[in-house]
């Protein structure tokens, strides 16, 4: 189903009008940079969606170790994490080593409903023990016939981020 949708969205853009409203697809390629640091600890990283008025909508990824340090993802923790921590089982996991990671989202919220069309902001936050912290944002539009691509370049704790919204 996903593959068919993929073809429908990329190879046959003329047929896009057939796309159902709920066929959102957000693909995020994120680079966890190599950092020459001694000692090196893997970063805690969160990727999530908010409304332009800073209301938390959905967390795509939450890579962490111990609860005591969740708060150090300062933005994520205050805007969405502390209110919804038990809901992140499907997107949370241990911290990742440097490398390329892909996140995909079909628009389904943790309550099972589809995200409403509209303006949103993607948030990326990374913080490393005895290291620095980085926080990046990208406004996006979720709507029919509104394909967008963006790239963000982190400077410290995040590398290149490529975003595709369909």
């Amino acid at each position: 189903m996903k593959k068919i949708l993929f073809i429908a969205l990329t190879v046959l853009p003329a047929m896009l009008w057939l796309k159902p409203v709920d066929a959102t697809e957000v693909v995020i390629d994120i680079n966890v940079p190599e950092i020459d640091s001694s000692p090196y600890h893997r970063p805690y990283i969160a990727v999530w969606l908010e409304t332009p008025k800073r209301k938390g909508v959905h967390t795509f990824a939450f890579w962490k170790e111990q609860e005591e340090w969740f708060k150090d993802l300062r933005q994520w923790w205050r805007k969405i994490g502390r209110a919804n921590t038990p809901n992140f089982d499907s997107v949370s996991g241990p911290t990742r080593k440097p490398g390329e990671y892909q996140l995909t989202w079909d628009g389904t919220l943790s309550n099972g409903q589809k995200v409403s069309p509209g303006e949103y902001v993607l948030h990326f936050e990374s913080v490393r023990e005895q290291g620095s912290r980085e926080y990046l944002r990208q406004p996006i539009t979720i709507a029919e016939n509104k394909t967008q691509t963006f790239t963000l370049q982190g400077k410290q704790e995040l590398g290149l981020i490529s975003i595709s919204v369909k």
């Binding site: 001694s38 090196y40 970063p43 805690y44 111990q66 023990e129 005895q130 290291g131 980085e134």
Partner: protein, 285 residues
């Protein structure tokens, strides 16, 4: 900051593992309420100390003379720590009594004489063995000759020793003779005479003699919790352990120096590790 381990005692001791063998686990510091005082009468300075990766924001206590909370898993560490105060005439006392709270330790130091005092929380050698397990993951065990898994590889027997120190001057600063043990700061500039945009000339000593370029030194300005960029400045030493440092901003800084010494075999230890965590105060121009 984020921590990956709950074993504070383990984590508090140097973790010489992983990518670099010079790696240390968690920072430690002692922060004096004042470093420069003027008075004809006795003065007191209150010290706080902590094990914390947020520089000068405390996370765990460092030191307890049975006056504070139950030290819990940190008790074995506190039991081996010695707080040494050197007064301007070179006299050594251990009169400081630390009271531990959950996030920091507190102590007063009394200054009666004109000149410079050195405060040092000294951790003598702690034995530790590091090795790789069957899954190629680094592990460590404390104590001399611990029992290791039969398939352990890359076994290194280590000791770690550290000094967490600062200097305080009442009236005219004086030059203290080096203790001759571990890493110490020396040089032409007095550690209580630091100003923004003024170059300071220091020299690191190791066991009382000039250290060398194989000494890792970094300087971190306090307040890491409230900035995104940690800004650790690596300082390059010359062959005699000398370096110049020109602070760009006023405030408290933590200077961290580390050195590893390979021990000639046969011996009970393969590598000895030494560290100095020195708090320095820099004033505005």
């Amino acid at each position: 900051m984020i921590k990956q381990t709950k074993l504070y005692f383990a984590a508090a001791v140097v973790a010489a593992m992983g990518i670099s063998s010079m790696a240390s686990a968690h920072e430690r510091f002692v922060l004096p309420s004042h470093t420069v005082l003027s008075s004809e009468s006795t003065q007191f300075v209150t010290l706080t100390s902590s094990i914390s990766n947020d520089i000068f924001h405390p996370d765990r206590p460092l030191g307890n003379n049975e006056k504070g909370i139950d030290s819990g898993e940190l008790a074995p560490l506190f039991n081996v720590l010695q707080t040494k105060v050197t007064s301007p005439d070179g006299q050594l006392t251990d009169s400081i009594q630390w009271q531990a709270f959950h996030r920091l330790s507190v102590a007063d130091v009394e200054l009666q004489k004109t000149g410079t005092y050195r405060i040092a929380i000294v951790q003598p050698d702690i034995a530790m063995t590091t090795y790789k397990d069957a899954k190629q993951a680094y592990q460590r065990k404390f104590g001399k000759n611990p029992t290791l898994p039969s398939d352990a590889t890359d076994i290194v027997r280590r000791t770690t020793a550290s000094s967490v120190a600062t200097y305080i001057s009442l009236n005219q600063p004086s030059k203290l003779a080096p203790t001759g043990s571990g890493l110490e700061l020396s040089g032409d500039t007095h550690p209580n005479d630091l100003f923004v945009a003024e170059s300071a000339s220091f020299q690191l000593l190791f066991d009382g003699k000039p250290s060398d370029e194989n000494t890792l030194v970094k300087v971190i300005k306090g307040g890491t919790r409230h900035r995104n960029y940690r800004a650790e400045t690596i300082v390059q030493l010359d062959k005699e352990g000398r370096f110049e440092w020109t602070p760009a901003e006023s405030g408290f800084y933590l200077l961290v120096a580390e050195k590893e010494v390979k021990v000639q075999q046969p011996a009970e230890v393969d590598v000895k590790h030494f560290s100095l965590n020195l708090t320095l105060e820099v004033f505005a121009e």
